[in-house]
């Protein structure tokens, strides 16, 4: 066998890079649409950039280590080397190098992603109000957070959606309820409150680069700004039970006018109170 095994190890980086390269060519054979889905959110590119940066970074290291591994296997194959084995005991320089480089890399990622994290998870949209000192844009400014347009409740196995309704408050009698059907206005910052009825779910909007674990007992906010109209998937990204795959919803992004119309229609459907038998029966 001999060097055959080292060739197997060489196949790892070659195939790995090959698969990624094929997937990136999203319009061609053999891996159609296996790369990132269409980005329809305003800040989605930030996540994409972060993803790509980390992918290239780890990609280079992956290819580098795989090639090094291959080279050692090839060069020091037992059947080709008859000389005695040499052992090394400790190399201070080497240890420092292989500690500093990863540490620096991680530090770079940590700093590089800070804004993206803050945008996605901390800086909830809202209006700044003057603080206690009566002046704006100082440290003690109050923020009136934008209230959620809807509450999305994950349960085994569907997404129950509850729009704030006319009073703009979720949890009142005029809420509009739908299942697996989320409509949102385009070009507006939207805030969604997400929660779970039962187990851990993860609210995932692939096209908006938004993914948030839904933890039972926690009310969490997610926000984004859709910039294209269309119909997109809502999926669950946390294996939540046997029906995990069934938690597929649809997010429809439409103009403000269409959205308002749809919400009014839903309200009328929900207020349905009459029923007549059809004529021909």
């Amino acid at each position: 066998m001999g060097r055959f095994w080292s060739l197997l190890f060489l196949a790892v980086p070659v195939l790995g890079v090959g698969v990624f390269a094929a997937a990136m060519m999203t319009d061609s054979w053999p891996l159609y649409n296996h790369w990132l889905p269409r980005d329809v959110s305003e800040k989605g590119y930030v996540i994409d950039n972060l993803f790509n940066t980390i992918l290239y970074l780890t990609g280079i290291i992956f290819v580098g280590t795989s090639l090094a591994l291959f080279w050692f296997l090839w060069k020091y194959d037992g059947e080709k080397n008859s000389g005695p084995v040499r052992f090394l005991h400790g190399s201070h320089t080497l240890e420092i190098v292989w500690s500093i480089i990863p540490a620096a890399t991680l530090l770079f990622i940590a700093i590089y992603q800070m804004n993206a994290w803050a945008d996605a998870k901390i800086d909830r949209p809202g209006t700044r109000l003057a603080g206690a000192d009566g002046r704006m844009n100082t440290e003690d400014d109050l923020i009136e957070f934008q209230s959620p347009i809807a509450q999305v409740t994950g349960r085994q196995f569907e997404w129950r959606i509850r729009y704030a309704g006319r009073d703009g408050v979720v949890g009142t009698a005029d809420d509009v309820h739908t299942v697996n059907d989320l409509h949102l206005p385009v070009d507006e910052e939207v805030v969604l409150q997400i929660k779970s009825d039962d187990v851990l779910h993860s609210f995932f909007l692939p096209n908006c680069r938004l993914k948030q674990d839904v933890v039972p007992g926690m009310k969490q906010m997610v926000w984004f700004k859709p910039k294209e109209v269309g119909s997109f998937d809502i999926v669950c990204a946390e294996l939540c039970g046997w029906g995990h795959y069934k938690m597929k919803g649809r997010m429809t992004i439409e103009s403000r006018k269409d959205f308002d119309q749809w919400l009014t229609d839903q309200e009328h459907i929900q207020q349905e109170s009459s029923f007549a038998l059809s004529e021909e029966e």
Binding site: E158, V179, N180, K246, Q271
Partner: protein, 428 residues
């Protein structure tokens, strides 16, 4: 599988490395083949209704074994086919074609086909793991769910527009499949399936209900016949396994219940728009008055308080059972009979659970939250459960007052029970 591994293991002492490698791969692949071949290659069959047979055999003191049982299931298989090939033989003579679309049955039945050949095996892909291949509510996940999945075989469905004792309409079943049942494990299939696929599943559910109801009729009828001597057996078979009995009598009357369901749906003229906040005529004052009247009815003539409790928490009557359980036991008290319970469980019944009145404070409405849905629940009662229809003494306006009250309960504060009439507290 294990016995064929044995020689392979002993030959591991093989010295030729190439040969050893081959043995290695062979061994490695075996569990994989085992994994693929071990499960589910045999096409599933309909389960027999052992619980009902146990019930009838206790009532009529007959045994459902040997020829008697075989005749029942020969007839049933001849009439309804198998899970892979559903048919309703002779059904065209009694109007099954009005009820079901044969193409739809083919779409919903059969094994699950790969995604890109979708449109086959829908029932087994989406429904069978809870409701079972037979539609007996005994799928693999059934015992982990609360409430248990619906057993279609009695033809009884809870959330529908028709009164107690009548079959649901197509629209009722479609609504459940589309919207799911909030508060239970039944999910919404609105985004998973297109409307044609949902129609197919609804037709297949009706097919399973027809089959289940026919099975029950056949079992109870068969209990009336004798199988003691060969002559008696021949007489019984000639009479029971005939088109008159199977198709004209049994299937005919069951199909008629279903085809006429659409005419029996309860009509509603609609709630006064002054109660509807989305209407221009909305009047909060009127709504508040209606809610107050509804509250009076809740404690009074509606008698809702007896089961849903003085604080609407659903804690008034918690010891009853639903019809699917009481079908075997006869009455709630008999569930405690250890001998009967044992017979029920060993015949394959799921451990009985009490049916609990809805906690109206949660705002979770299983049959839908539209006023018309709540109206149907109050006006018609809920089939298969102890929930009775509102008294026919109550007018439509009374029922709408109750509906308005029910819809307002989740938004009331529990800490203000001041409006509760005194007499309601004296009960219990």
């Amino acid at each position: 599988m294990s016995c064929c591994l044995q020689p392979c293991l002993t030959s591991l002492g093989e010295s030729n490395p190439m040969k050893r490698l081959r043995i290695f791969w062979a061994l490695l692949s075996m569990p994989m083949i085992g994994l693929m071949a071990g499960c589910g290659t045999e096409s599933p069959d309909f389960r027999v209704n052992s619980v009902y047979m146990e019930k009838i055999s206790r009532e009529l003191e007959v045994k459902f074994d040997g020829q008697r049982q075989e005749d029942v299931y020969t007839a049933l298989t001849a009439m309804f086919g198998t899970p892979d090939l559903p048919v309703v033989t002779g059904g065209q003579d009694v109007g099954v074609t009005e009820l079901l679309n044969v193409d739809n049955l083919a779409m919903a039945a059969g094994p699950v086909i790969k995604d890109y050949e979708a449109g086959k095996g829908l029932y087994r892909q989406h429904c069978a793991h809870c409701h079972g291949v037979t539609g007996d509510g005994y799928g693999p996940t059934a015992k982990f769910l609360n409430p248990y999945p619906r057993d279609f075989r009695m033809g009884t469905f809870k959330f529908k527009s028709t009164p107690v004792g009548y079959r649901p309409t197509d629209d009722d079943l479609t609504r459940i499949v589309r919207n799911g049942i909030n508060g239970t494990a039944m999910p919404s299939f609105k985004e998973m399936l297109d409307s044609g696929q949902i129609d197919a599943i609804v037709d297949y559910v009706k097919y399973l209900a027809l089959r289940g109801q026919t099975e029950r009729s056949l079992i109870s009828l068969s209990g009336d016949y004798g199988y003691e001597t060969p002559e008696e057996t021949a007489d019984t078979q000639a009479e029971l396994l005939s088109k008159e009995v199977l198709v004209d009598d049994i299937l005919g009357s069951i199909v008629e219940e279903w085809t006429t369901a659409g005419e029996t749906a309860t009509e509603a003229e609609g709630r006064n728009p002054i109660y509807d906040f989305s209407s221009t005529e909305f009047d909060q004052g009127e709504l508040d008055e209606s809610i107050a009247r509804g509250q009076q009815l809740y404690y009074g003539a509606g008698a809702c308080v007896t089961c849903h409790g003085p604080t609407q928490l659903g804690d008034g009557q918690t010891t009853d059972y639903d019809n699917w359980t009481k079908d075997f036991f006869g009455e709630a008290a008999k569930v405690a009979d250890p001998e009967l319970l044992d017979a029920y469980l060993s015949a394959g019944g799921l451990p009985p659970r009490n049916i609990i009145p809805r906690n109206l404070r949660q705002g979770v409405y299983r049959g839908g939250r539209r006023p018309i849905d709540i109206y149907w629940r109050v006006k018609n009662g809920i089939d298969g459960t102890p929930m009775p229809a509102a008294s026919s003494q109550l007018t439509d306006d009374d029922v709408w007052d109750i509906v308005n009250f029910v819809l307002s309960i989740p938004f009331q504060s529990l800490s203000q029970p001041a409006d509760m009439p005194e007499f309601a507290r004296d009960r219990n």
